[in-house]
Symmetry: C2
Subunit: 292 residues, 2 copies
Protein backbone atom coordinates (compact mmCIF):
# COMPACT_ATOMS: atom_id res chain seq x y z
CA UNK A 1 0.00 0.00 0.00
CA UNK A 2 1.20 3.48 -0.88
CA UNK A 3 2.32 5.78 1.91
CA UNK A 4 3.90 9.17 1.28
CA UNK A 5 6.15 8.90 4.28
CA UNK A 6 7.43 5.48 3.27
CA UNK A 7 7.93 6.49 -0.33
CA UNK A 8 9.84 9.59 0.74
CA UNK A 9 11.94 7.36 2.98
CA UNK A 10 12.66 5.02 0.08
CA UNK A 11 13.90 7.80 -2.19
CA UNK A 12 15.84 9.32 0.67
CA UNK A 13 17.54 5.98 1.41
CA UNK A 14 18.45 5.48 -2.23
CA UNK A 15 19.98 8.94 -2.27
CA UNK A 16 21.85 8.34 0.96
CA UNK A 17 23.44 5.22 -0.48
CA UNK A 18 24.90 7.39 -3.25
CA UNK A 19 25.88 10.08 -0.80
CA UNK A 20 27.68 7.57 1.44
CA UNK A 21 29.71 6.32 -1.50
CA UNK A 22 30.58 9.90 -2.30
CA UNK A 23 31.87 10.52 1.23
CA UNK A 24 34.00 7.40 0.98
CA UNK A 25 35.43 8.23 -2.42
CA UNK A 26 36.13 11.90 -1.80
CA UNK A 27 39.25 12.60 0.20
CA UNK A 28 40.58 16.12 -0.06
CA UNK A 29 43.84 17.53 1.10
CA UNK A 30 44.29 19.66 3.21
CA UNK A 31 42.08 18.21 5.92
CA UNK A 32 40.24 21.48 6.51
CA UNK A 33 38.96 21.44 2.92
CA UNK A 34 37.69 17.90 3.42
CA UNK A 35 36.10 18.79 6.76
CA UNK A 36 34.45 21.99 5.58
CA UNK A 37 32.99 20.40 2.43
CA UNK A 38 31.53 17.48 4.34
CA UNK A 39 30.35 19.53 7.31
CA UNK A 40 27.72 21.35 5.31
CA UNK A 41 26.72 18.32 3.28
CA UNK A 42 26.26 16.29 6.44
CA UNK A 43 24.10 18.99 8.00
CA UNK A 44 21.44 17.18 6.07
CA UNK A 45 18.15 18.89 5.71
CA UNK A 46 15.27 17.10 4.05
CA UNK A 47 17.11 16.44 0.76
CA UNK A 48 14.00 17.68 -1.03
CA UNK A 49 15.71 18.20 -4.39
CA UNK A 50 17.33 14.76 -4.73
CA UNK A 51 14.15 13.08 -3.50
CA UNK A 52 12.13 15.01 -6.10
CA UNK A 53 14.59 13.96 -8.76
CA UNK A 54 14.44 10.27 -7.93
CA UNK A 55 10.65 10.47 -7.82
CA UNK A 56 10.55 12.22 -11.19
CA UNK A 57 12.85 9.53 -12.60
CA UNK A 58 10.31 6.94 -11.43
CA UNK A 59 7.51 8.87 -13.07
CA UNK A 60 9.10 9.20 -16.52
CA UNK A 61 11.06 5.93 -16.53
CA UNK A 62 14.59 7.25 -16.09
CA UNK A 63 15.59 5.10 -13.13
CA UNK A 64 18.43 3.22 -14.74
CA UNK A 65 20.63 5.89 -16.24
CA UNK A 66 22.65 7.04 -13.29
CA UNK A 67 20.09 9.60 -12.17
CA UNK A 68 21.52 9.29 -8.63
CA UNK A 69 24.61 11.10 -9.91
CA UNK A 70 22.50 14.02 -11.09
CA UNK A 71 20.68 14.03 -7.75
CA UNK A 72 24.02 14.12 -5.94
CA UNK A 73 25.31 16.93 -8.15
CA UNK A 74 22.13 18.92 -7.50
CA UNK A 75 22.47 18.52 -3.73
CA UNK A 76 26.12 19.63 -3.93
CA UNK A 77 25.07 22.70 -5.91
CA UNK A 78 22.30 23.47 -3.42
CA UNK A 79 24.72 23.08 -0.51
CA UNK A 80 27.37 25.31 -2.08
CA UNK A 81 24.74 28.00 -2.59
CA UNK A 82 23.76 27.87 1.09
CA UNK A 83 27.39 28.20 2.21
CA UNK A 84 28.01 31.24 0.02
CA UNK A 85 24.58 32.73 0.88
CA UNK A 86 25.33 32.56 4.58
CA UNK A 87 28.63 34.47 4.25
CA UNK A 88 28.94 37.75 6.17
CA UNK A 89 28.99 39.75 2.91
CA UNK A 90 25.81 38.01 1.72
CA UNK A 91 22.96 37.10 4.12
CA UNK A 92 25.30 36.98 7.12
CA UNK A 93 23.63 33.98 8.76
CA UNK A 94 25.32 32.41 11.76
CA UNK A 95 23.11 29.35 11.79
CA UNK A 96 21.97 26.81 9.24
CA UNK A 97 19.87 23.76 10.00
CA UNK A 98 20.37 24.30 13.72
CA UNK A 99 24.17 24.29 13.53
CA UNK A 100 26.74 27.03 13.11
CA UNK A 101 27.01 27.95 9.44
CA UNK A 102 30.11 26.97 7.51
CA UNK A 103 31.99 30.25 7.94
CA UNK A 104 31.27 30.28 11.67
CA UNK A 105 32.91 26.86 11.92
CA UNK A 106 35.81 27.26 9.48
CA UNK A 107 36.17 30.99 8.80
CA UNK A 108 34.94 32.90 5.76
CA UNK A 109 37.96 32.10 3.57
CA UNK A 110 37.51 28.37 3.98
CA UNK A 111 33.76 28.72 3.50
CA UNK A 112 34.30 30.42 0.14
CA UNK A 113 36.55 27.53 -0.90
CA UNK A 114 34.18 24.89 0.48
CA UNK A 115 31.44 26.37 -1.69
CA UNK A 116 33.71 26.57 -4.73
CA UNK A 117 34.80 23.01 -4.09
CA UNK A 118 31.26 21.65 -3.90
CA UNK A 119 30.22 23.44 -7.09
CA UNK A 120 33.26 22.17 -8.92
CA UNK A 121 32.77 18.61 -7.64
CA UNK A 122 29.13 18.65 -8.72
CA UNK A 123 30.20 19.34 -12.28
CA UNK A 124 33.00 16.80 -12.15
CA UNK A 125 30.40 14.15 -11.37
CA UNK A 126 28.30 15.34 -14.31
CA UNK A 127 31.23 15.42 -16.74
CA UNK A 128 31.85 11.79 -15.86
CA UNK A 129 28.30 11.01 -16.99
CA UNK A 130 28.60 13.12 -20.15
CA UNK A 131 30.85 10.50 -21.73
CA UNK A 132 27.74 8.28 -21.97
CA UNK A 133 26.14 10.32 -24.72
CA UNK A 134 24.21 13.37 -25.81
CA UNK A 135 21.17 13.04 -23.51
CA UNK A 136 23.47 12.90 -20.51
CA UNK A 137 25.26 16.03 -21.66
CA UNK A 138 21.95 17.78 -22.36
CA UNK A 139 20.70 17.00 -18.86
CA UNK A 140 23.93 18.28 -17.32
CA UNK A 141 23.80 21.45 -19.39
CA UNK A 142 20.23 22.10 -18.33
CA UNK A 143 21.13 21.71 -14.66
CA UNK A 144 24.13 23.97 -15.09
CA UNK A 145 21.95 26.61 -16.72
CA UNK A 146 19.50 26.43 -13.82
CA UNK A 147 22.35 26.97 -11.34
CA UNK A 148 24.21 29.71 -13.19
CA UNK A 149 23.93 33.31 -14.29
CA UNK A 150 20.62 32.69 -16.05
CA UNK A 151 19.35 30.84 -12.99
CA UNK A 152 20.09 30.66 -9.30
CA UNK A 153 23.06 33.05 -9.33
CA UNK A 154 21.00 35.70 -11.12
CA UNK A 155 18.38 35.31 -8.39
CA UNK A 156 20.97 35.65 -5.63
CA UNK A 157 22.45 38.69 -7.27
CA UNK A 158 19.04 40.37 -7.61
CA UNK A 159 18.26 39.46 -4.00
CA UNK A 160 21.47 41.09 -2.80
CA UNK A 161 20.91 44.11 -5.02
CA UNK A 162 17.38 44.73 -3.76
CA UNK A 163 18.45 44.31 -0.13
CA UNK A 164 21.31 46.77 -0.58
CA UNK A 165 19.25 49.36 -2.41
CA UNK A 166 16.06 48.85 -0.41
CA UNK A 167 14.13 48.09 -3.60
CA UNK A 168 10.53 46.92 -3.25
CA UNK A 169 9.33 45.81 -6.65
CA UNK A 170 6.99 43.03 -7.60
CA UNK A 171 8.77 42.16 -10.84
CA UNK A 172 12.10 41.92 -9.05
CA UNK A 173 10.50 39.74 -6.39
CA UNK A 174 9.18 37.36 -9.05
CA UNK A 175 12.58 37.32 -10.73
CA UNK A 176 14.37 36.55 -7.46
CA UNK A 177 12.07 33.71 -6.49
CA UNK A 178 11.84 32.21 -9.98
CA UNK A 179 15.62 32.07 -10.21
CA UNK A 180 16.96 31.72 -6.70
CA UNK A 181 14.47 29.09 -5.57
CA UNK A 182 12.55 27.95 -8.62
CA UNK A 183 15.33 26.98 -10.99
CA UNK A 184 16.98 24.27 -8.89
CA UNK A 185 13.63 22.72 -7.99
CA UNK A 186 12.74 22.83 -11.65
CA UNK A 187 16.04 21.11 -12.44
CA UNK A 188 15.20 18.42 -9.90
CA UNK A 189 12.06 17.34 -11.73
CA UNK A 190 13.01 18.22 -15.33
CA UNK A 191 16.44 16.55 -15.53
CA UNK A 192 14.94 13.03 -15.42
CA UNK A 193 12.58 14.08 -18.23
CA UNK A 194 15.62 14.96 -20.36
CA UNK A 195 17.32 11.67 -19.51
CA UNK A 196 14.13 9.92 -20.58
CA UNK A 197 14.38 11.54 -23.99
CA UNK A 198 12.21 14.56 -23.30
CA UNK A 199 9.10 12.90 -21.89
CA UNK A 200 6.93 15.47 -20.03
CA UNK A 201 9.85 17.89 -19.95
CA UNK A 202 7.79 21.05 -20.36
CA UNK A 203 5.15 20.01 -17.81
CA UNK A 204 7.71 19.00 -15.22
CA UNK A 205 9.81 22.10 -15.70
CA UNK A 206 6.74 24.28 -15.17
CA UNK A 207 5.63 22.19 -12.22
CA UNK A 208 9.08 22.67 -10.65
CA UNK A 209 8.94 26.43 -11.10
CA UNK A 210 5.48 26.61 -9.52
CA UNK A 211 6.49 24.31 -6.70
CA UNK A 212 9.51 26.54 -6.12
CA UNK A 213 7.26 29.58 -5.78
CA UNK A 214 4.97 27.71 -3.38
CA UNK A 215 8.03 26.60 -1.41
CA UNK A 216 9.28 30.20 -1.12
CA UNK A 217 5.87 31.57 -0.15
CA UNK A 218 5.64 29.08 2.71
CA UNK A 219 9.28 29.69 3.64
CA UNK A 220 8.66 33.41 3.91
CA UNK A 221 5.50 32.87 5.97
CA UNK A 222 7.41 30.53 8.29
CA UNK A 223 10.25 33.01 8.59
CA UNK A 224 7.73 35.61 9.73
CA UNK A 225 6.01 33.44 12.31
CA UNK A 226 8.36 30.52 12.79
CA UNK A 227 10.74 29.85 15.59
CA UNK A 228 14.37 28.76 15.64
CA UNK A 229 13.60 25.24 16.78
CA UNK A 230 11.51 24.37 13.74
CA UNK A 231 13.51 26.25 11.13
CA UNK A 232 17.04 25.59 12.39
CA UNK A 233 17.95 29.11 11.37
CA UNK A 234 17.35 32.58 12.71
CA UNK A 235 13.77 33.60 11.96
CA UNK A 236 12.30 37.06 11.45
CA UNK A 237 15.61 38.10 9.88
CA UNK A 238 14.08 38.97 6.53
CA UNK A 239 11.90 41.66 8.01
CA UNK A 240 14.67 42.94 10.24
CA UNK A 241 17.00 43.32 7.27
CA UNK A 242 14.36 44.94 5.12
CA UNK A 243 14.69 42.17 2.54
CA UNK A 244 12.40 41.89 -0.44
CA UNK A 245 10.34 38.77 0.24
CA UNK A 246 6.75 37.71 -0.37
CA UNK A 247 5.83 38.58 3.20
CA UNK A 248 7.55 41.96 3.29
CA UNK A 249 5.96 42.81 -0.07
CA UNK A 250 2.44 41.35 0.20
CA UNK A 251 2.04 40.74 3.94
CA UNK A 252 1.47 37.31 5.50
CA UNK A 253 -2.28 37.27 4.98
CA UNK A 254 -2.09 37.76 1.21
CA UNK A 255 0.79 35.29 1.03
CA UNK A 256 -1.44 32.55 2.40
CA UNK A 257 -3.98 33.25 -0.35
CA UNK A 258 -1.21 33.31 -2.96
CA UNK A 259 0.13 30.02 -1.57
CA UNK A 260 -3.31 28.44 -1.94
CA UNK A 261 -3.44 29.59 -5.55
CA UNK A 262 0.00 28.12 -6.29
CA UNK A 263 -1.05 24.96 -4.48
CA UNK A 264 -3.99 24.52 -6.86
CA UNK A 265 -1.84 25.35 -9.87
CA UNK A 266 0.74 22.71 -8.94
CA UNK A 267 -1.96 20.06 -8.64
CA UNK A 268 -3.50 21.15 -11.94
CA UNK A 269 -0.14 20.83 -13.68
CA UNK A 270 0.23 17.27 -12.41
CA UNK A 271 -3.09 16.31 -13.99
CA UNK A 272 -1.50 16.85 -17.40
CA UNK A 273 1.12 14.19 -16.73
CA UNK A 274 0.52 10.50 -17.38
CA UNK A 275 1.46 7.95 -14.77
CA UNK A 276 1.22 7.72 -11.01
CA UNK A 277 1.58 11.26 -9.68
CA UNK A 278 0.34 10.52 -6.12
CA UNK A 279 3.76 11.14 -4.62
CA UNK A 280 4.02 14.54 -6.28
CA UNK A 281 0.53 15.52 -5.14
CA UNK A 282 1.59 14.70 -1.61
CA UNK A 283 4.78 16.68 -2.05
CA UNK A 284 2.69 19.70 -2.96
CA UNK A 285 0.65 19.27 0.23
CA UNK A 286 3.79 18.70 2.26
CA UNK A 287 5.35 21.90 0.94
CA UNK A 288 2.15 23.89 1.53
CA UNK A 289 1.45 22.66 5.04
CA UNK A 290 4.91 22.05 6.52
CA UNK A 291 5.78 23.74 9.77
CA UNK A 292 9.55 24.13 9.42
Amino acid sequence: MYSFKEKYGEYLSAFEVRLKRFYEELTCRPQILDDSLKYSLKSGGKRVRPVLMLAAADLVGAQNCGVEDYALALELIHTYSLIHDDLPEMDNDDFRRGRPSNHKMFGAGNAVLAGDGLLNTAYYILFERCADGKLFADAAKFMCGCAGVTGMIAGQSADLYCAEKGIKDGDMLDFIVANKTGKLISAAVAVPAILAGGKNFLELRQFGEDLGRLFQLVDDILDEEGNFEHLGKTSGKDKEENKLTYVTFYGAEQCRVYADIMFDRCLKMLEGIDGDTRFFKDVVSFVRYREG
Copy 2:
Protein backbone atom coordinates in the same frame (compact mmCIF):
# COMPACT_ATOMS: atom_id res chain seq x y z
CA MET B 1 59.42 33.98 -40.84
CA TYR B 2 58.68 32.84 -37.30
CA SER B 3 58.55 35.49 -34.57
CA PHE B 4 57.47 34.69 -31.01
CA LYS B 5 55.84 38.03 -30.56
CA GLU B 6 53.82 37.71 -33.76
CA LYS B 7 52.82 34.15 -33.01
CA TYR B 8 51.70 35.14 -29.51
CA GLY B 9 49.71 37.95 -31.07
CA GLU B 10 48.05 35.54 -33.49
CA TYR B 11 46.90 33.19 -30.74
CA LEU B 12 45.83 36.13 -28.62
CA SER B 13 43.77 37.55 -31.49
CA ALA B 14 42.12 34.20 -32.13
CA PHE B 15 41.21 34.01 -28.46
CA GLU B 16 39.93 37.56 -28.38
CA VAL B 17 37.58 36.81 -31.27
CA ARG B 18 36.02 34.08 -29.14
CA LEU B 19 35.98 36.32 -26.07
CA LYS B 20 34.27 39.12 -27.99
CA ARG B 21 31.54 36.75 -29.10
CA PHE B 22 31.15 35.68 -25.49
CA TYR B 23 30.66 39.28 -24.32
CA GLU B 24 28.04 39.80 -26.98
CA GLU B 25 26.13 36.62 -26.21
CA LEU B 26 26.22 36.89 -22.43
CA THR B 27 23.70 39.28 -20.95
CA CYS B 28 22.98 38.83 -17.28
CA ARG B 29 20.28 40.34 -15.18
CA PRO B 30 20.64 42.22 -12.82
CA GLN B 31 23.04 44.65 -14.41
CA ILE B 32 25.50 44.51 -11.51
CA LEU B 33 26.02 40.79 -12.13
CA ASP B 34 26.74 41.49 -15.79
CA ASP B 35 29.07 44.38 -14.93
CA SER B 36 31.01 42.54 -12.23
CA LEU B 37 31.52 39.40 -14.35
CA LYS B 38 32.80 41.38 -17.31
CA TYR B 39 34.86 43.84 -15.26
CA SER B 40 37.33 41.20 -14.17
CA LEU B 41 37.37 39.41 -17.51
CA LYS B 42 38.07 42.68 -19.28
CA SER B 43 40.94 43.49 -16.93
CA GLY B 44 42.80 41.38 -19.38
CA GLY B 45 46.20 40.25 -18.39
CA LYS B 46 48.37 38.36 -20.83
CA ARG B 47 45.85 35.54 -21.43
CA VAL B 48 48.72 33.09 -20.96
CA ARG B 49 46.52 30.05 -20.43
CA PRO B 50 44.30 30.43 -23.51
CA VAL B 51 47.32 31.28 -25.67
CA LEU B 52 49.10 28.16 -24.40
CA MET B 53 46.04 26.11 -25.19
CA LEU B 54 45.70 27.36 -28.75
CA ALA B 55 49.41 26.79 -29.27
CA ALA B 56 49.17 23.25 -27.90
CA ALA B 57 46.22 22.62 -30.20
CA ASP B 58 48.45 23.65 -33.11
CA LEU B 59 51.17 21.32 -31.91
CA VAL B 60 49.01 18.20 -31.59
CA GLY B 61 46.58 18.92 -34.42
CA ALA B 62 43.47 19.79 -32.41
CA GLN B 63 42.70 23.12 -34.07
CA ASN B 64 39.33 22.27 -35.50
CA CYS B 65 37.37 20.86 -32.62
CA GLY B 66 36.19 23.94 -30.81
CA VAL B 67 39.31 24.26 -28.70
CA GLU B 68 38.56 28.01 -28.41
CA ASP B 69 35.64 27.09 -26.16
CA TYR B 70 37.96 25.20 -23.83
CA ALA B 71 40.36 28.14 -23.86
CA LEU B 72 37.51 30.48 -22.96
CA ALA B 73 36.31 28.20 -20.17
CA LEU B 74 39.84 28.03 -18.78
CA GLU B 75 40.17 31.81 -18.75
CA LEU B 76 36.79 32.11 -16.99
CA ILE B 77 37.96 29.62 -14.36
CA HIS B 78 41.24 31.46 -13.92
CA THR B 79 39.39 34.77 -13.59
CA TYR B 80 36.91 33.43 -11.02
CA SER B 81 39.83 32.15 -8.95
CA LEU B 82 41.46 35.59 -8.94
CA ILE B 83 38.23 37.26 -7.81
CA HIS B 84 37.74 34.85 -4.92
CA ASP B 85 41.46 34.91 -4.05
CA ASP B 86 41.42 38.70 -3.75
CA LEU B 87 38.49 38.70 -1.27
CA PRO B 88 39.13 40.21 2.17
CA GLU B 89 38.82 36.79 3.84
CA MET B 90 41.37 35.31 1.44
CA ASP B 91 44.40 37.27 0.18
CA ASN B 92 42.70 40.63 0.78
CA ASP B 93 44.13 42.31 -2.30
CA ASP B 94 42.79 45.72 -3.25
CA PHE B 95 44.39 45.76 -6.68
CA ARG B 96 44.59 43.39 -9.60
CA ARG B 97 46.24 44.15 -12.91
CA GLY B 98 46.55 47.80 -11.96
CA ARG B 99 42.85 48.27 -11.26
CA PRO B 100 40.75 47.95 -8.11
CA SER B 101 39.96 44.30 -7.47
CA ASN B 102 36.41 43.07 -8.03
CA HIS B 103 35.24 43.40 -4.43
CA LYS B 104 36.66 46.93 -4.20
CA MET B 105 34.52 47.86 -7.19
CA PHE B 106 31.33 45.94 -6.47
CA GLY B 107 31.49 44.87 -2.81
CA ALA B 108 32.42 41.47 -1.46
CA GLY B 109 28.97 39.92 -1.85
CA ASN B 110 28.82 40.72 -5.54
CA ALA B 111 32.41 39.54 -5.97
CA VAL B 112 31.53 36.16 -4.50
CA LEU B 113 28.66 35.90 -6.99
CA ALA B 114 30.77 37.16 -9.91
CA GLY B 115 33.26 34.36 -9.18
CA ASP B 116 30.52 31.77 -8.82
CA GLY B 117 28.97 33.02 -12.03
CA LEU B 118 32.19 32.77 -14.03
CA LEU B 119 32.89 29.26 -12.76
CA ASN B 120 29.39 28.16 -13.59
CA THR B 121 29.48 29.75 -17.03
CA ALA B 122 32.80 28.06 -17.80
CA TYR B 123 31.20 24.68 -17.25
CA TYR B 124 28.08 25.62 -19.17
CA ILE B 125 30.28 26.25 -22.20
CA LEU B 126 31.96 22.88 -21.71
CA PHE B 127 28.66 21.00 -21.28
CA GLU B 128 27.61 22.43 -24.64
CA ARG B 129 30.69 20.80 -26.18
CA CYS B 130 30.16 17.52 -24.36
CA ALA B 131 27.23 16.70 -26.62
CA ASP B 132 29.81 16.19 -29.42
CA GLY B 133 31.19 12.97 -27.98
CA LYS B 134 33.37 11.19 -25.48
CA LEU B 135 36.69 12.94 -26.17
CA PHE B 136 35.02 16.29 -25.59
CA ALA B 137 33.60 15.08 -22.28
CA ASP B 138 36.97 13.61 -21.28
CA ALA B 139 38.72 16.90 -21.96
CA ALA B 140 36.12 18.82 -19.95
CA LYS B 141 36.37 16.37 -17.06
CA PHE B 142 40.15 16.72 -17.02
CA MET B 143 39.91 20.51 -16.88
CA CYS B 144 37.31 20.32 -14.14
CA GLY B 145 39.59 18.01 -12.13
CA CYS B 146 42.46 20.47 -12.52
CA ALA B 147 40.28 23.30 -11.22
CA GLY B 148 38.61 21.48 -8.34
CA VAL B 149 39.27 19.91 -4.98
CA THR B 150 42.03 17.70 -6.38
CA GLY B 151 43.53 20.70 -8.16
CA MET B 152 43.48 24.45 -7.84
CA ILE B 153 41.02 24.63 -4.96
CA ALA B 154 43.15 22.20 -2.93
CA GLY B 155 46.14 24.47 -3.56
CA GLN B 156 44.21 27.56 -2.49
CA SER B 157 42.98 25.84 0.64
CA ALA B 158 46.52 24.71 1.57
CA ASP B 159 47.80 28.21 0.85
CA LEU B 160 45.22 29.74 3.19
CA TYR B 161 45.86 27.11 5.84
CA CYS B 162 49.62 27.65 5.85
CA ALA B 163 49.21 31.44 5.97
CA GLU B 164 46.79 31.20 8.89
CA LYS B 165 48.89 28.73 10.87
CA GLY B 166 52.25 30.21 9.90
CA ILE B 167 53.38 26.84 8.52
CA LYS B 168 56.74 26.72 6.70
CA ASP B 169 57.04 23.33 5.12
CA GLY B 170 58.65 22.34 1.81
CA ASP B 171 56.14 19.56 1.05
CA MET B 172 53.24 21.92 1.62
CA LEU B 173 54.91 24.51 -0.58
CA ASP B 174 55.25 21.99 -3.40
CA PHE B 175 51.64 20.94 -2.92
CA ILE B 176 50.41 24.53 -3.03
CA VAL B 177 52.32 25.45 -6.18
CA ALA B 178 51.61 22.17 -8.00
CA ASN B 179 47.88 22.62 -7.43
CA LYS B 180 47.20 26.32 -7.20
CA THR B 181 49.37 27.32 -10.15
CA GLY B 182 50.44 24.14 -11.91
CA LYS B 183 47.13 22.43 -12.53
CA LEU B 184 45.47 25.13 -14.66
CA ILE B 185 48.61 25.61 -16.76
CA SER B 186 48.79 21.87 -17.15
CA ALA B 187 45.15 21.87 -18.26
CA ALA B 188 45.98 24.56 -20.82
CA VAL B 189 48.48 22.36 -22.66
CA ALA B 190 47.03 18.88 -21.92
CA VAL B 191 43.39 19.50 -22.90
CA PRO B 192 44.25 19.77 -26.64
CA ALA B 193 46.17 16.51 -26.32
CA ILE B 194 42.99 14.83 -25.06
CA LEU B 195 40.94 16.37 -27.86
CA ALA B 196 43.51 14.98 -30.31
CA GLY B 197 42.90 11.48 -28.97
CA GLY B 198 45.69 11.43 -26.38
CA LYS B 199 48.66 12.47 -28.48
CA ASN B 200 51.54 13.62 -26.22
CA PHE B 201 49.15 13.88 -23.28
CA LEU B 202 51.62 12.72 -20.63
CA GLU B 203 54.47 14.89 -21.91
CA LEU B 204 52.32 18.00 -22.18
CA ARG B 205 50.73 17.49 -18.79
CA GLN B 206 54.17 17.22 -17.21
CA PHE B 207 55.45 20.17 -19.20
CA GLY B 208 52.51 22.22 -17.93
CA GLU B 209 53.20 21.31 -14.32
CA ASP B 210 56.87 22.24 -14.65
CA LEU B 211 56.05 25.45 -16.45
CA GLY B 212 53.64 26.24 -13.63
CA ARG B 213 56.40 25.81 -11.08
CA LEU B 214 58.72 28.02 -13.13
CA PHE B 215 55.97 30.59 -13.44
CA GLN B 216 55.43 30.63 -9.67
CA LEU B 217 59.14 30.85 -8.90
CA VAL B 218 59.50 33.90 -11.10
CA ASP B 219 56.25 35.37 -9.73
CA ASP B 220 57.56 35.06 -6.18
CA ILE B 221 60.90 36.60 -7.14
CA LEU B 222 59.10 39.48 -8.86
CA ASP B 223 56.84 39.98 -5.86
CA GLU B 224 59.96 40.32 -3.69
CA GLU B 225 61.74 42.81 -5.93
CA GLY B 226 59.06 44.08 -8.27
CA ASN B 227 57.16 47.28 -8.19
CA PHE B 228 53.50 48.12 -8.53
CA GLU B 229 53.87 49.57 -12.00
CA HIS B 230 55.14 46.35 -13.55
CA LEU B 231 53.04 43.90 -11.59
CA GLY B 232 49.77 45.81 -11.44
CA LYS B 233 49.31 44.55 -7.90
CA THR B 234 50.76 45.31 -4.51
CA SER B 235 54.25 43.83 -4.28
CA GLY B 236 56.18 42.65 -1.23
CA LYS B 237 52.85 41.55 0.30
CA ASP B 238 53.84 37.90 0.53
CA LYS B 239 56.71 38.63 2.88
CA GLU B 240 54.68 41.11 4.86
CA GLU B 241 51.91 38.59 5.41
CA ASN B 242 54.31 35.83 6.27
CA LYS B 243 52.99 33.70 3.42
CA LEU B 244 54.57 30.42 2.44
CA THR B 245 56.16 31.11 -0.95
CA TYR B 246 59.32 30.04 -2.74
CA VAL B 247 61.05 33.26 -1.76
CA THR B 248 59.98 33.23 1.89
CA PHE B 249 61.02 29.57 2.11
CA TYR B 250 64.23 29.41 0.03
CA GLY B 251 65.24 33.05 -0.30
CA ALA B 252 65.48 34.90 -3.63
CA GLU B 253 69.00 33.74 -4.44
CA GLN B 254 68.18 30.05 -4.24
CA CYS B 255 64.93 30.69 -6.12
CA ARG B 256 66.87 31.96 -9.10
CA VAL B 257 68.93 28.76 -9.16
CA TYR B 258 65.76 26.69 -8.79
CA ALA B 259 64.17 28.67 -11.64
CA ASP B 260 67.13 27.90 -13.88
CA ILE B 261 66.78 24.21 -13.10
CA MET B 262 63.07 24.27 -13.95
CA PHE B 263 63.87 26.25 -17.08
CA ASP B 264 66.19 23.47 -18.29
CA ARG B 265 63.67 20.82 -17.32
CA CYS B 266 60.90 22.49 -19.32
CA LEU B 267 63.09 22.62 -22.41
CA LYS B 268 64.15 18.99 -21.94
CA MET B 269 60.52 17.91 -21.76
CA LEU B 270 59.78 19.68 -25.06
CA GLU B 271 62.53 17.68 -26.78
CA GLY B 272 60.43 14.55 -26.25
CA ILE B 273 57.57 15.99 -28.29
CA ASP B 274 57.38 15.71 -32.08
CA GLY B 275 56.55 18.74 -34.15
CA ASP B 276 57.45 22.41 -34.07
CA THR B 277 57.97 23.32 -30.42
CA ARG B 278 59.72 26.66 -31.05
CA PHE B 279 56.82 28.64 -29.65
CA PHE B 280 56.82 26.65 -26.44
CA LYS B 281 60.57 27.04 -26.04
CA ASP B 282 60.10 30.78 -26.33
CA VAL B 283 57.26 30.64 -23.81
CA VAL B 284 59.64 29.02 -21.35
CA SER B 285 62.15 31.85 -21.88
CA PHE B 286 59.39 34.43 -21.64
CA VAL B 287 58.19 33.02 -18.33
CA ARG B 288 61.74 32.80 -16.96
CA TYR B 289 62.87 36.27 -17.99
CA ARG B 290 59.70 38.37 -17.80
CA GLU B 291 59.80 41.47 -15.66
CA GLY B 292 56.18 41.76 -14.62
